[in-house]
């Protein structure tokens, strides 16, 4: 029985990873391989045609750069807002502190997808449709990040900051030269999470972008115009272009990824 476990696990994991394998393989298929009988798993004659067409006949690169730009800008803003907020909630005492903290963190209870009708109206009346700011607007507040950063900042002694302030160190200097460097690990983890969340967002960017040139890659990928005509090669190539860097990162970093999950969710 126990001998069968590795075999079962391997077959099972191959089934799970099959779509990824097939996507990469099919991105090298010549057109006729898709209709070949029996079905092909590997290209008969590998071709780079699909890649050339994916780039030439669609705005994939524009979509990709829109996504990278908004995810990068969004991450920077989101981390800044979270860090400043967490800093105030950790090191200051002020009226209404607990209430305001609960108010911010409780936004977790309101699923963004159910708020799209009103948020779209807001963005439209602010004239932010088809802008990067419009795309990232609803993702800028990350209550979970603010919460986790505060938990982490709390482990830094209050006396540290008091001593620094008495010595004439400003808040901004304390933040940039001490607090942020010692919280580097948690900040990087949260930043990566932010980046992938904003980069992978689908519904909101679909709503706030009408001009093709403003589309993010997640939205653009579904409208390339290849798969509708059963012209699968370029579509698979576009997907492969998009996922390969992330796949490589995941495989290379599989140890830290697995560890970060175990510490984040179990607290050990």
């Amino acid at each position: 029985m126990r001998r069968l476990i590795p075999i079962a696990a391997t077959l099972f994991s191959l089934a799970v990873v099959f779509p990824i394998f097939y996507t990469i393989s099919a991105s090298f298929f010549p057109y006729t391989d898709f209709t070949a009988i029996p079905a092909r798993l590997l290209p008969s004659v590998p071709t780079l045609d699909n890649y050339a067409r994916a780039f030439r006949e669609s705005n994939l690169l524009v979509f990709l750069s829109n996504s990278l730009y908004s995810a990068l800008a969004g991450t920077v803003l989101r981390m800044t807002i979270s860090i400043l907020g967490a800093y105030a909630f950790t090191f200051f005492t002020f009226r209404g502190k607990n209430l305001l903290f609960v108010l911010i963190v409780a936004t977790m209870l309101l699923p963004p997808d159910a708020l799209i009708l009103e948020n779209y109206t807001t963005i439209r009346s602010l004239r932010l449709t088809d802008t990067y700011l419009g795309i990232i607007s609803t993702t800028l507040l990350a209550p979970t990040h603010l919460f986790m950063l505060r938990q982490y900042f709390k482990t830094v002694s209050q006396e540290y900051r008091e001593a620094a302030i008495i010595e004439g160190c400003s808040d901004s200097r304390f933040l940039t030269t001490l607090l942020i460097p010692i919280s580097k690990a948690v900040i990087i983890t949260l930043a990566i999470h932010s980046f992938s969340t904003i980069f992978n967002d689908y519904l909101w960017p679909l709503l706030v972008t009408n001009r093709e040139m403003m589309r993010t890659v997640q939205v653009g990928l579904t409208m390339l115009g290849f798969s509708e005509n059963l012209d699968y090669g370029p579509q698979f190539a576009a997907i492969t272009v998009l996922m390969t860097p992330i796949l490589i990162t995941f495989i290379a970093l599989h140890n830290p990824i697995q560890d970060s999950v175990s510490t984040r969710f179990t607290g050990r």
Partner: protein
Amino acid sequence: MKSAYPKQIKPYLLIAPALLLAVLFSYRPFILTLINSLHTVSLAGKRLSFIGLENYTRLFVNPSFLASLSNTLRFTLFFVPTNVVICLAAALLSNRPGRLATLNQIFFFLPMAVGLSSSMMIIKMMFNPSIGIINQLLGFDIQWFNNRHAAMTLLVIAGVGLDIGLDFLLLSAALRNVPSDLLEVAKIEGASGVQTFRYLQAPLIGSTLLFVVVTNIKDAMLISSPVMILTEGGPFRSTQTLVYQMYLEGFKSGNYAIGSAIATVVFLLTFTVLLLLLRLERRRVYYQ
């Protein structure tokens, strides 16, 4: 006294952006949604007249809404157990030492690296009834997009594909935290694999398992993007879900008020689930 003033204003300035965003993109739209659901609203989104609960009474006799509600609940009912069993099986099977096991683990969480719209497009092409690899390879002739049951199955498959990576990681991390000396004792005492799981591993990963189940329920109730990309609610509304219908009413049909009423129903459903989650979270903190 000189330093008292700046000390007072500074924390408010620091939290101002977060607070502003919370009000602008969470509380204000939430309250406006509730208010709009009690009014008639023009095509341009302007509130016309107060009509009390009429939108809701209309909603609950509307066949399209009843279909969405039942589809969403049915999807949740099919998806959550399927996903949990698959992810738990993956975590248990790959929870062993050795290089092959590491490879298995990487394969199990790799789907996480594929974004939502990429995975949906992959599924859309692989399950195409005429030239998709799935029907060809397995010798099926299933009309994945034109048959009610097949379309719902497809949506469940899509959901598992989206969630397996993270849920596998969570469960496998929990399993790895089961102390190895306990497992050693169980082995020496001759416990079977089933017994080891039932009496040793299951209780120790219980809180993670509950977390996965509750977040899965929440995600399932909010499902919309996969529907939008894969089936567009079809065939015959059989995969039309609540959030997808809300999107259709609000953005395609101009029924703003009805859309708001559906959003309110979604809030109620997810509140219930999230409050449950918060309770579980608190209990988990207590355990540590």
